[in-house]
Amino acid sequence: MTAPLVDIRNVSHRFGQLAVLKDVSLRIEPGSYTILLGPSGSGKTTLLSILGGFVTPSEGKVFIRGEDCTSVPPARRPTTTVFQDYALFPHMSVGGNVGFGLRMQGVDGATRAARAREALALVGLAAAFDKKPHQLSGGQRQRVALARALVIEPAVLLLDEPLGALDLKLRRQMQDELKAIQKRVGTAFIHVTHDQEEAMALADHCVVMNDGRIEDEGPPERVYARPSTRFAATFMGESTILSGTVAEAKGGTATVATPIGSVCVPGAAQAGAQVALAIRPEHLVLGANEGGVGLGMAKISDVVFQGSFKRVLATSTVDAALRFIAKAPASATVQTGDTVAISCQAGDMILLAN
């Protein structure tokens, strides 16, 4: 077992009275692409600032390559940051920007220029060497910021909502390129975002944060298929949440009493515990109920055509507080106002402690 590249141990941080991080521990493996995913105010950006050295945590330690970096200033730690607003030096050429880190290391001009050109070629901007930042588009500035941070070969590259300022199409395109660049250079990337699609597309390791805590972490496929908390189930992709009380639990199966009746699901739980059952939209079946778990009738309140599928919102006729979010095929003939039976497979229901 190799030592983790980054080891965050029991980090807490307060801004005045406000606790923004509450006892966070996280390990990051070399060469991995880690996404910190969470809504604003979840503490993800503060955690990134602590890794970058811009903020010293109130409690806890940060080890990078086995060294205690908790209060090492940004200049002397093996991390570089790509800022959300890119923070390019407006008075320097693109080449000057990319070469700045090497200049600070005392690398001579010719070597600096050669390595800056290499880094620019890596991000597909070889031709921009002599331009000024204001002559570039948003996406190009983003690449320059990336090249500037990568050229000094950091152990960890930190990206603070790097795609936040780009329009949707460019964002998806840059997303693919980021992943490709990361695979090519092999540097560990830690990337902060509130966009769950971005997280699923990029992450090797996805960390879902909420209210200063890590709610769930792991490969995005696992976090999506088997979220470990109710928050993760609703923030990383959508879910229908069915609340209930465990009536009986034995042999790896729990019987949960819910407003729409008793439901048997696989999973371990204590009898009498308050639980939530999460169901992904693609697992809900509208109409005919064959061999699944019946979830009662629901009145469709909205149908949104999304191209390859229809997103259906429905309210249970039994319990008005229960809202279903389902994904129906694009060819489905459901309409707003219809009342349909809803069901799903027992195995697709995720049992979550409340």
Binding site: P74, A75, F83, F100, Q105
Partner: protein, 260 residues
């Protein structure tokens, strides 16, 4: 009706600009007089009084003194003002608002009071009356101005740029010299040129704090004591011309700032 409103407004504008510029126009016009008295009728144009000014050793040395005092004191004022602004903008200081107010306070105090204060202080400290003393006086009046101009332009958007430089390994003095100063250059130049303008034609402090070597405004005042002649007009016009150049430079640097 509308026609007469137009005429009246034109007349009004003419009167306002006349009121402001007539003294200067008269000064410049009679500096070109060819006879010995700067009073109508106009007998020029002639450059003989400009020649007289430039061949007057006292006036030319005063002119050089003025330029030296203006440029060196402005350099000092803009450097100190920049450092103050950077300190206030980037660090959380106790009583920051009060301290900022104190720094800009000299802007509201009359030059006469500042000059008298410095005179008393230098007298007590044993600093003789000199160009250096006057230069220090000019730093006192121009530092608050430079501070105010630079501080107003030092926004939060530069904080991340400085952070990025630190992140890439720059020590603090390199961050200042390679990043903050170039990014703030328009405000720094604007502060410098405005300080030059004020120092260049400042009279009261120079009058109180210099003795043998003195600045141009003080020398002009000496000249005026022996009565009006076109030579005083000529040297006054020169002072005015330099001021105009400095103000134009100030405006240009500020304008460039707004465009980017």
């Amino acid at each position: 009706m509308r026609q007469s409103v137009r005429i009246v407004s034109w007349l009004y504008a003419l009167a306002v600009y006349g009121f402001i510029f007539l003294p200067v126009v008269v000064l410049v016009l009679f500096s070109l007089q060819s006879t010995s008295f700067p009073i109508p009728p106009f007998t020029g144009p002639s450059l003989r009084w400009y020649e007289a000014v430039l061949s007057d050793a006292r006036l030319t040395s005063a002119l050089v003194n003025s330029l030296l005092v203006a440029s060196i004191s402005s350099l000092a004022a803009v450097t100190l003002g920049f450092l103050c602004a950077w300190g206030f903008a980037r660090f959380v200081l106790p009583g920051s608002g009060l301290l900022r107010g104190l720094i800009t306070l000299p802007l509201t105090v009359s030059y006469l009071i500042i000059g008298m204060g410095l005179l008393v202080l230098f007298n007590w400290a044993g600093v003789p009356k000199s160009l250096l003393a006057a230069g220090i006086g000019h730093v006192v009046i121009n530092l608050p101005l430079c501070f105010a101009i630079i501080y107003s332009q030092m926004g939060d958007h530069q904080i991340n740029i400085e952070r990025a430089a630190r992140d890439l390994g720059a020590p603090e003095w390199k961050v200042l010299l390679l990043i903050t100063v170039p990014v703030m250059a328009p405000a720094i130049f604007a502060g410098f040129f405005l300080s030059m303008t004020f120092s260049w034609d400042e009279f009261v402090i120079s009058f109180l704090l210099t003795r043998f070597d003195t600045t141009l405004p003080v020398e002009i005042w000496n000249l005026l004591r022996s009565g009006l002649n076109p030579k005083t007009n000529a040297v006054g016009s020169l002072v005015f011309a330099v001021s105009i150049v400095l103000v134009v430079l100030f405006e240009l640097t500020l304008l460039r700032r707004r465009k980017t």
